[in-house]
């Protein structure tokens, strides 16, 4: 599973990344967490508000930081 964190490096993007990593380790799954920081690459997902969470090339959340529990729901 590939999890992408879209965001240009704002504070919210960092907390999204932290939450995603925590969700992955709590669930004990193997997933790669990738940061996407170039605006051009972020926009390619059609997202207008960062941070956004992409699971296997599908945008699941944008414009807010979901909690660890919410992220777990997306990773199932």
């Amino acid at each position: 599973m590939i999890i992408k964190i879209l965001g240009t490096g704002c504070a919210k993007c960092k907390s999204l990344e932290a939450n995603a990593r925590q969700a992955v380790s709590e669930m004990g799954i193997t997933a790669e967490v990738v940061k996407v920081q170039e605006m051009q690459d972020i926009m390619a997902f059609g997202v207008m508000r960062t941070p956004a969470l992409v699971v296997d090339e599908k945008v699941v959340v944008y414009g807010k930081v979901p909690s660890v529990e919410e992220i777990k729901g997306f990773l199932k």
Binding site: A11, K12, M39, Q40, I42, M43, A44, F45, G46, V47, M48, R49, T50, V59, Y62, G63, K64
Partner: protein, 334 residues
Amino acid sequence: MFIFEWLNNQLLKMEWLYVLVQKLVEGVFGLSIQDRLGGSIHFFIYDVIKIFILLSFLIFSVSYIQSFFPPERTRKILGRFNGISANILGALLGTITPFCSCSSIPLFIGFTSAGLPIGVSFSFLISSPLVDLASVLLLASIFNWRIAIAYVIVGLVLAVIGGTLISKLKMEKYVEAFVYSNKVMDLEPEELTVRDRLQFGKEQVLDIIHKVWLYVLIGVGIGAAIHNYIPEEMISAVLGQDKWYSVILATFVGVPMYADIFGTLPIAEALVGKGVGLGTALSFMMAVTALSLPSMIMLKKVVKTKLLATFFVIVTAGILIIGYTFNAFGHIFL
């Protein structure tokens, strides 16, 4: 009328706070607010507390309204209009979307790649940092309602004319190709409950205060220094009403600076207090908020130099015209 005036003075201008801080400065510090040091300390404490109270309240209310207009929805609404009405709507929607130009650029890309004319996206991009609901109420608090409303109107007119000019100049080809090649995802806006919206408002308050507090402190600090330490003759020699170049100077000093409107208001307030023309102070504010080095660098990644330069020239010219107009007719407003 009397009740309205009382509410305006107490809630918006916070006269109770003025008196309270005066008591603090005079009673606890033993300084007169007529003195330099006492006056500066009073200006600083009063303005900082006032701006933070108003800011928290305003961001909360504005965010609540904003939660009804996420960019995905704004884009859909804009797509239904053509011509100048689309520009006007773009400018109006710009007033209820993000507070800083850094977050409006992804919106610019999102709008353009969805097929909105670039002129409409630019109307949005100009009005978004320049005029927002929170800044209007702050202007009304620091100056008065007439100035606040006049500011909104000229800001919107600038956004509409700027966007329309860019449409007329047919500059679509100066947008980087990747913007058009983006797929447009029609992400369905999620349904929000009242609780979600309140939560969003709370998050926005914390987020924005966290982002702007330093600018506000610096802005009020500069304001306090201008207020009491810089001699009036010195300021009027450079920025006085009778100096024809004052607006130009204020605009070009403001352009490279990056701060948001909440940090620049106290500086404008102190300048006007020192006899600087209202137009000169507004030009400075508009230049700082609408144009800045960081937002230019971001925009450069999306549009070619020619379009960037056109955008810069149109907005700068607009700010200069607004400045001179307000200086000529400013006495009506004060």
